[in-house]
C-alpha cells in the first residue's frame, strides 16, 4: 500500500513542481510586492509596509466603485451571452446541413485579439465615420454608444459579440451529451417543446451551464482591452473597471506595491465566490 502511495505521489511531483514554478512564483512575488512600498521608479530594495497597502485598498472608495462597475459589466455581458448562447446552441443542435461551416463561422470572433476588437468597435461605433451609427441614422435613430449611462452597456455588448460563440460551444457540447431517452419519453407523453426544455433539458444542462457561466464570468472579470481601446474608463469613471484601475495604479502611476494588494483583494473575493459556487453545485448534485 505504501508503495502504491509513494508511486502516486511520485507521479504527481512533476505537475506540482510545474505549478509551483508557473503559478506559485508569480503569486509569491506579487504577494511580496503587496506588502512593500515598491514603486517602479524606486532604486534599491523597497521597504516592508505590512498590511498598509491592503488597508488602503479596502478603504479606497474608488477601488470598490471600480469593482462594482466590473461586477455590473460581468452580469450584463455574461447574462446576454448566456441567453444568446443557449438560443443559438439549441438552433444549431437542430441544424441538418452545413453544420461544420456554420459552427466554424460562428466561432470566428473568438479568434480575434480583444484589443483589435476594441479598436474595431471604437471606429465602427464612431458617430461620424462609423457604419453602425450611419445605419441607425438612416432609420431615424441617434444613439451615443459611448455616452453617459450607455458606455458600459456598449462594452458589455462588444464582449457579447466576441464571446457568445464560446458559450455556444460549451452549451452545444452539453446539449449533445444529454441522453435522448428522457426527452423522447416526455414528447411521447405529450409534453410541449417549452415544457420539455424547462423541465428536462435545462435541469440536465445545469452543470454545464454553471461551468460555462463561471468560465465566462472569470474571463469577463479581466476586461481591460475594450476599455483601453475605447473609453479609457470614461465618461467620468463609468467604465473604469477593476483591471483598468489596477493598471493605472501600478503601471501608469508606478505604485506597483499598492496595485499588487488590489490584485490580491480581487483574487480573494473571486476565489471565495468560486468556492461558494462549486459547493452549491456539489450540494445540488448530492440532493
Amino acid at each position: 500500500m505504501k508503495r502504491v502511495l509513494a508511486f502516486k505521489h511520485g507521479m504527481l511531483a512533476p505537475l506540482v513542481a510545474l505549478l509551483v514554478l508557473i503559478v506559485g512564483f508569480p503569486l509569491a512575488y506579487a504577494l511580496y510586492l503587496s506588502v512593500t512600498d515598491y514603486k517602479l521608479t524606486d532604486r534599491g530594495a523597497p521597504a516592508f509596509v505590512g498590511i498598509d497597502n491592503f488597508v488602503s485598498t479596502l478603504v479606497n472608495s474608488d477601488f470598490w466603485e471600480a469593482f462594482g462597475t466590473t461586477a455590473l459589466y460581468v452580469v450584463m455581458a455574461v447574462g446576454v451571452e448566456l441567453v444568446l448562447g443557449l438560443a443559438i446552441a439549441l438552433a444549431l443542435q437542430k441544424q441538418k446541413w452545413a453544420k461544420d461551416l456554420t459552427r466554424s463561422m460562428l466561432l470566428a470572433p473568438m479568434f480575434i485579439t480583444p484589443i483589435a476588437v476594441g479598436l474595431t468597435f471604437r471606429f465602427l461605433l464612431n458617430d461620424q465615420i462609423g457604419a453602425i451609427p450611419a445605419m441607425l441614422r438612416s432609420v431615424g435613430i441617434d444613439y451615443d454608444f459611448f455616452g453617459p449611462g450607455r458606455a458600459l452597456m456598449t462594452l458589455a455588448a462588444i464582449d457579447a459579440w466576441q464571446w457568445t460563440p464560446f458559450m455556444v460551444l460549451l452549451l452545444l457540447a452539453g446539449l449533445e451529451s444529454i441522453p435522448k431517452q428522457p426527452l423522447e419519453a416526455a414528447r411521447v407523453d405529450g409534453g410541449s417543446a417549452w415544457y420539455v426544455f424547462r423541465r428536462i433539458t435545462l435541469p440536465m444542462l445545469a452543470p454545464v451551464l454553471v461551468i460555462a457561466v463561471l468560465l465566462r464570468a472569470l474571463d469577463a472579470l479581466k476586461v481591460f482591452e475594450y476599455v483601453f481601446a475605447t473609453t479609457r474608463g470614461g465618461p467620468g469613471t463609468e467604465t473604469q473597471t477593476i483591471q483598468y484601475f489596477t493598471y493605472q495604479t501600478g503601471i501608469q502611476f508606478f505604485r506597483l506595491g499598492e496595485a499588487s494588494s488590489m490584485a490580491f483583494v480581487v483574487l480573494v473575493v473571486v476565489l471565495t465566490l468560486i468556492i461558494l459556487t462549486f459547493r452549491r453545485v456539489e450540494k445540488g448534485r448530492a440532493s
Partner: protein, 414 residues
Amino acid sequence: MTASCAGTGGPASPESSGLGDIPKGTQGTVRILMENVPDTDIVMDLVDDFNAEYPDITVDIESLTFDQMRDKLVSSFQAPDPTYDLIVVDNPWMVDFADAGFLEPLDERIASTTDYNADDFFTPLVDITKVDGTTYGVPFYNYALGYLYNSDDLAAASLSVPTTLDELVSTSQALTSDDKSGIAMQPQRGYKIFEEWANWLFAAGGSIYDEEGNPTLDTPEAKAALEAYIDVYSNSAPSNSLSWAFDEAFRSVSSGQSASMISYNWNLPALNDPEGAAGSLAGKFKLAPMPGGKQVLGSWSWAIPSNSAASDAAWAFTSWVTSQDVDIDRVISGGAAIRSSTLEDPGVLTDGFGSDYYDAVKQILSDAAPLSAGANGEEMIQAVGTELNEAVAGTKSVDDALAAAQAAVVKIQG
C-alpha cells in the same frame, strides 16, 4: 528570492566622459527607443548622414507606440544590462525619471559642446528638461497646440481667426451648420480633455499653477473656461463625440465634417498634404496661435539613461541631430520645430511648409506651458482629466468638478 527582484536599482554607471565634444573616432552602438511617429522616421533617415561623420558608431533605433514605451523604458532603467542607451522622454515623465536617478545630467555636456548654441532652443521646451535646476534632456520635438482651421470655411462665414475665448465660442458656433460641425473636440477622459481644455483655461486668463507652483484649477477663470468648453461641445462639436481623442477629431476635420480643431501644430503639413487624408481639401488649412496667445505645450526630449552602456556615443548622436545645421534638414523634412533660428532659416522658409506656418509655430512656441510641473505628472493629468470629462458628460457640476480637480492635484503633487 522574490526580494532580490524588486528595486535592485540597475548597474553602476559605466564609464562616461561627461563631456560634449565626442571624438569622431568614437566606437559603440547606441540603442534608441523612440515613439512610432513620423518624426522618428525623419530621424531614421538622418542616420546615414550621422555615420558619415561618426563611422564607428552604430545607431540602432527601435520604435514603439506611446502606450508601450514607458514600461520598456522603466525595465531598461532597472536592468543590470540596459536595453537602451538613448531615449526620448515625454514631459510628464521627466521629473519622475530624474528624481529616480534614471537620467544623466547634461549641463556639462551641453556647455562643453562646441557651437551647440543651446540658447537657441525655445525656452518653454528647455524648461521642461530642467528638474531642480539641472538639465536632463535636450528638446527633440514639440507637441504644442494651436488653432487649426479650414480657411475656406472661415472665409465663407466672413469670419477672422478668433483671438479671445468669447470669439472662439462665437466662431465655433458660426461655423456650425446642418452638415458641418464648427469644431472637432477631444473630450476623452484623462490626458486628451485636459490637454485640450487647458488651452481654453489659458484663453480665459487662467493658469494651471500660480507663480509659487500652487495649483489654480478652482478659479473663476477656470470656471469660465469649462463653461465655455461645455457650451461649445454641446452646440458646435460633432454629436456623440464624448469619447473622442486625437484620431477621431483629425478624421473629422480632414474629411470636411468639422471646420476646425485645437491640435498639435505639426498636423498642418499632414492636413495640407495632397497625398494625405484631407484629399481635395488639402491646402485649405491654416494654423494660428490659440485665442489669448498662450497654449499648452507637450514636448519630447532626448535623454541619456544613467545606466547607458554607450553614453558618449549617445551624446554624439544627440548633439549632432539637435545641432543647428541638422535641425534645419529635419524641419524641412516635416519634423517639429525646437530651435528658434531654424524657423528663420531661408532654406526652411523656401523649402518647408510655408512662412505663415513657421511664423505661427514660432508664436506658439514662444508662449506655451506644459500641463504638469513636479512629480507624479501622469497621475495628476489623469485625475484632472477625469473630473473635466465628468463635467462635460453632465455627471458633475462645473463647480464640483473643478473643486475635485483642485483637491486631486493638491493631494497628488502636494
